[in-house]
């Protein structure tokens, strides 16, 4: 294999792998455009026979998707803000030292992750009810979902802080900075790429939050798009092209944001903070 041809071959291979991996997404769009009987055809058609694009505005309208997506946006923004505020400092401290207390802290954070959200919801619901938080359902969901996303955020942001050289911080302290000064003006700017990327990922995950929202938010006008989607999956009505159309409209904005920002996200994640 010559050195010149190799990159091109690799590119072709990479594209092929990506095509296989992304096929489920293609299938979502293709299914949404098919007619009601065509989706049950055997063997399935790979390209919709008569693509019907009217399903998108129709589903958008019928499902009041503007309200649902707005609520998803509100919840995702809240979760991200809370996660970044509470998680960043904690991750920094956990990255800075190397002693048994840190081990215990990390261990505790992971152990607190033991229960799936589907099991946590009953105690949380009971607790939120007692302190009256259920009257502010979106806030309640934001708090609950942040509790799930913070440990994940801490573990990953901690890795970012690990790549900030400790000498820089020590130099700042020697120069007379307080711990706060060193943290905010030296360490944070150096780690900002990683933090930004993880904030974006937290946001996108929170955009799909489902289990807490469906139990806590009882008013339809406050529910996020995930709960709206589950409304399709009724007992005796599984309208697959509608589901896929809804899913497509739900995830397309996330995917678009992702594709636009992906260079930044990928480099933020792979090259650490300093490169």
């Amino acid at each position: 294999m010559t050195r010149v041809a190799a990159p091109k071959l690799l590119l072709v291979l990479a594209l092929a792998l990506a095509a296989v991996y992304l096929f489920p997404l293609y299938w979502m769009y293709a299914t949404s455009l098919k007619g009601a009987s065509e989706i049950f055809a055997n063997p399935p058609t790979f390209w919709p026979r008569e693509p019907d694009f009217s399903i998108f505005p129709a589903t958008w309208e019928r499902r009041t998707m503007d309200t649902f997506l707005w609520n998803s946006l509100v919840i995702a923004t809240g979760v991200t803000t809370l996660t970044v505020l509470l998680g960043t400092g904690c991750a920094y401290v956990l990255a800075r030292y190397r002693n048994p207390w840190i081990d215990i802290g990390l261990f505790a954070i992971l152990m607190l992750q033991v229960l799936p959200a589907s099991v946590m919801i009953t105690p949380l619901y009971v607790g939120f009810n007692q302190i009256g938080l259920l009257d502010y359902p979106r806030t309640a969901v934001i708090i609950a979902a942040a509790g799930k996303s913070i440990p994940f955020y801490i573990v990953l942001v901690r890795a970012t802080f690990m790549s900030v050289p400790s000498e820089l911080e020590e130099a700042a302290l020697v120069d007379g900075n307080s711990r706060w000064g060193a943290f905010f003006f030296i360490v944070l700017p150096l780690a900002r790429n990683g933090i930004l990327v993880l904030a974006i990922l937290t946001f996108m995950q929170a955009f799909g939050e489902y289990i807490y929202s469906k139990s806590i938010i009882t008013t339809q006008s406050l529910q996020p798009a995930s709960v709206g989607l589950s409304g399709f999956l009724g007992p005796n009505s599984t309208d697959w092209n509608g589901i896929m159309a809804y899913a497509a409209m739900y995830v397309t904005p996330i995917i678009l944001v992702f594709v636009i920002l992906q260079r930044r996200i990928v480099s933020g994640l792979t090259s650490g903070a300093l490169k």
Binding site: L22, M120, Y210
Partner: protein, 300 residues
């Protein structure tokens, strides 16, 4: 007073505040529910006492009842397959892809970015999508496999007790691959190039370089990926209701779904809590692996 103040600006106080606030928050939102579940697993619970802590004590009754269910061992076996199958699949494919994309060719990082799309997809959507792809008669996976000549008849991914747990595992590998690949890429990027160059000069072949440089240097990353993988695999819930509902006849039922069934389909909250307590053991192992792996970290 001043001591405290100066400690907050300059000493341990700073660290304690940073960690303490977050830990308190996490403890309230995850620790209390955990305790609630532990307590509940030793009690008799119904809809009239769900709201209070004072309930009839049941001792180990719930645990005995769970272990003597006819499907208990099946669920354990499935949980093991799902967890280890998912982690192995995600890790091996993720590692392979991560190494592949470290090679230099045009658009490498752009294409790698596309793989991350699965990570940001809502679980509910992924479940619906895979449930649809894996369907027996009108599922597209079977059509593709038949077209490629790999299978002859129809594979009933969701209805064949020998395949159903693998069907969910495949979907979960797809979902978790991105996460693994990304974290492993981060680890790979952190290995200094010159180490490889030196090894190459010494005449080490690709495999030797992988085992003597890549793996040891990646120890902490690998530990983190595996531990987080285990925890997130045990959290994975959305795929089950959407793909197999644990069936047929519990052949794809796993602990986290079983716990949910007890609580929310059979309305026996105490037994649901009991199953979730048994999952604690798995996470305990994962957490120990993770914490141990951080010992090998080198700070930048």
């Amino acid at each position: 007073m001043r001591r405290i103040l100066s400690s907050i600006t300059d000493g341990k106080g700073f660290d304690l505040i940073m960690v303490g606030v977050t830990m308190l928050f996490l403890f309230a939102l995850a620790g209390v529910p955990l305790v609630y579940n532990v307590v509940m697993s030793f009690q008799q619970v119904d809809m009239f006492n769900l709201n209070t802590f004072s309930r009839p004590f049941a001792g180990f009754e719930n645990y005995v009842a769970i272990v003597s269910q006819p499907e208990f061992w099946l669920v354990i076996r499935n949980t093991a397959i799902f967890v280890f199958g998912s982690i192995a699949g995600q890790f091996i494919f993720g590692f392979a892809l991560a190494i592949f994309f470290m090679l230099s060719f045009p658009f490498a990082s752009t294409i790698r970015g596309l793989f991350l799309v699965s990570w940001v997809m809502p679980g509910l959507v992924v479940g619906a999508l895979w449930g649809w792809i894996l369907a027996g008669d009108f599922g597209v996976l079977n059509a593709i496999l038949r077209g490629l000549g790999i299978i002859d008849g129809t594979m009933f991914w969701k209805s064949d007790p020998n395949l159903s747990i693998w069907a969910v595992t495949i979907a979960n590998i797809w979902l978790g691959l991105a996460f693994n690949m990304m974290l492993l890429s981060v680890g790979l990027a952190g290995i200094p190039r010159d180490l490889y160059e030196a090894a190459e000069l010494d005449g080490a072949n690709g495999w030797q370089r992988f085992t003597t440089i890549t793996l040891p240097m990646m120890r902490s990353t690998i530990g983190a990926v595996l531990a987080l993988g285990l925890i997130y695999t045990l959290q994975q819930f959305d795929l089950f209701p959407a793909i197999t509902e644990g069936g047929p006849a519990n052949s794809s039922n796993v602990a986290q779904y079983w716990a949910w069934q007890w609580s929310f389909q059979l309305f026996d909250f105490a037994k649901g809590a009991t199953v979730s307590m048994m999952m604690l053991i798995f996470v305990l192992v994962a957490s120990i692996v993770y914490v141990r792996s951080t010992r090998h970290e080198v700070r930048g």
